[in-house]
Symmetry: none
Subunit: 206 residues, 4 copies
DNA sequence: AATGAATGAGCGTTCATTCAT
DNA sequence: TATGAATGAACGCTCATTCAT
């Protein structure tokens, strides 16, 4: 995590550094991102950089941290108290907030995708670590509950289905987040409806 | 493509180079993969490397080519004549062969994933080019046909569903290919059944 | 052009680098000049070199720039206002200053010659560009004017003669600049007299 | 010089190697010319190359040797018995034959220029060695004789003038040899007349 | 706290030459 | 005689990191 010296910086300067870092991590993997580029576009000296951060990884983790913080602000009531709401409503809210985050923060989204798509990179393990597993567990709990309440049929494999929903949601958002701005005008609502419809009904003719 | 000098090499030596390259490309993106590492673990000199291949990209493409060749051997009759078989049978075969390839060739699978997950890299365009788009189109054709034959209900959004099935299949396989060997003992058949069941029936209680 | 970091260097160190570079460019064409040689004889690290200069070309251009600056100091009044002086006086001054520059700065001269003698090299175009053509034109103007004033006979081919005078002057100086120091004791004045006598006999009006 | 193995080669193959070498030396300095390029365009193996020639220099010298042989065929009677002909006639013949050689053998000319323009390169010394000095001496003898016969005025500096005529002739030809083919149609005769006129006015006895 | 000069390992790539077959 | 695989030094250049000021 950044050193005190970084937090003591005037807000403006700190933001400039963050912007420069995001610009670089948006367009480069962690390995190929260049500190030289970052300090040059942030207009700080090399020495300063290493007085703010331990190393490149430290900065990167900080950016990811900021992203997570921002993402938190998109949490809905249904997501905060999932057991007090319908299963499909919760799932819909999760995707809705994911899509809106992607729409409003395309730069964070791009950085996040670059990270998520490289699970074999050492830094992935360090940052994501068991996060994915926890997410799976959460989905499983939601599914079990939904089966109890009769929202979801009982003859599914819960663990497997949890994973699939998680993956599908991620890909659903990732896919769209690659679209250009104009495509977004189509309306998130409609897109989300299709996704939920697919999920709720399946596709086989009855 | 590799030069003649490479193909003239004794089988054993050639394999050693391939192994070294795969080891490197498994664990590194194209950019951060190091030729020095490869030649050192293949125990060949730098000069020799460049007598076998034009450059790093040449070697990489060769590895991908080998992967594709290997993958070809997993094609089933249903995949070759998809319109002569049931829709779900075709989808099942595709996933089945994908899973088996992943199980039997985990190293290729890892390399392939690294490539597929970095669509913004120049080499992705060069190798994959419009492959993904073609895949989408193929799924759409299969879906349209399945709607005609009454296998699939008609009130779906074909384009959207095609993408989702493609993504779901990919992730389904990728996910499993990340698992350690022991998980595989569970049995591919059962895993595939779950996946197909999810796809065929959806999860909503009736 | 060199980066700020280079100009911020202590004079002594900067000079050491310039010396090392000149030593290398004196004895090698641009292509075969080695940065490794330069940094080794300047006793700086590779990293430092690239903090001073963008690349080899950047350094080379800087050396050429220094040479041009130095050469500027040899310009005479007759060269600055050529039309206010006699034609042969102007030509004499040009050769005189050329010779003196060559005598006082043999290393620059050697580097300059290597450049001038390789007009097909890309860097020649970049540095010299149309300079030669402009020189020809200048000589033509001087010749035309000299014909008007009756200094030079009118039955010469101006364009052709301009080229020849230019070439002859260059070669005259180049030739001498290759001589070892002892030969210079002969006296520039006498040498120049011979040259001018040759020229005057060739084209002076009777 | 090439090894016997080279001379034992069938004429056709030998010529192919020569062609490939000329192609490379036309467009590259000795240092940057690549043996790989040569053997590739000559379609011989690397091993063969080194069985025909000691090294790159050996091949290069051979090409230069061929050029000299070819140049010999342009010698005129006046050049063979210079003392039996008028001085200006001899000089004219030398330039005439030089121009015609350049016109008929542009590739040799290009290679020769590249060599002549880099007198500081080790290979220059090795090949040209005292050749230039001998040429100067020859010009001096011609000049002395011409002064005796009254063709040339006696108040010139013989050594200096010899050099200048040599340089002027060389540059005269080099300059023109850079011209494109179409310019040659202008007529060598006229060009040569201009040159001789310049020279004669300069030193001819009145 | 801020600077920026210094570092050297590392990168992908090219090279002329050797030598076993 | 002919081959072409093998070599390793050298190339220009980038990098994250250190440290004296």
């Amino acid at each position: 995590m950044p050193k005190d010296t970084f937090y003591n910086l005037p807000e403006e300067k700190r933001q400039k550094i963050i912007d420069a870092a995001m610009l670089e991590f948006e367009n480069n993997s962690f390995d190929s991102a260049s500190i030289n580029q970052i300090i040059s576009s942030a207009q700080i000296s090399k020495g300063s950089f290493y007085q703010y951060f331990d190393d490149k990884k430290d900065l990167y983790k900080h950016i990811i941290e900021l992203m997570i913080q921002k993402k938190m602000t998109y949490i809905t009531p249904a997501m905060q108290n999932p057991f007090a709401h319908g299963f499909f409503e919760v799932i819909r809210d999760m995707n809705q907030s994911g899509l809106e985050f992607a729409k409003n923060h395309p730069r964070f989204t791009k950085i996040g995708n670059l990270l998520l798509r490289n699970p074999s990179h050492p830094i992935y393990l360090e940052i994501i670590s068991g996060g994915q597993e926890q997410a799976y567990k959460a989905y499983e709990m939601l599914l079990n509950r939904a089966i109890e309440t009769g929202e979801v049929r009982s003859n599914i494999d819960v663990a497997f289905t949890a994973k699939m929903i998680f993956k599908l949601s991620s890909e659903f958002i990732l896919e769209e987040s690659d679209l250009t701005a104009e495509n977004w005008t189509e309306g998130l609502a409609e897109l989300l409806n299709k996704f939920m419809s697919l999920l709720e009904n399946g596709i086989k003719a009855k």
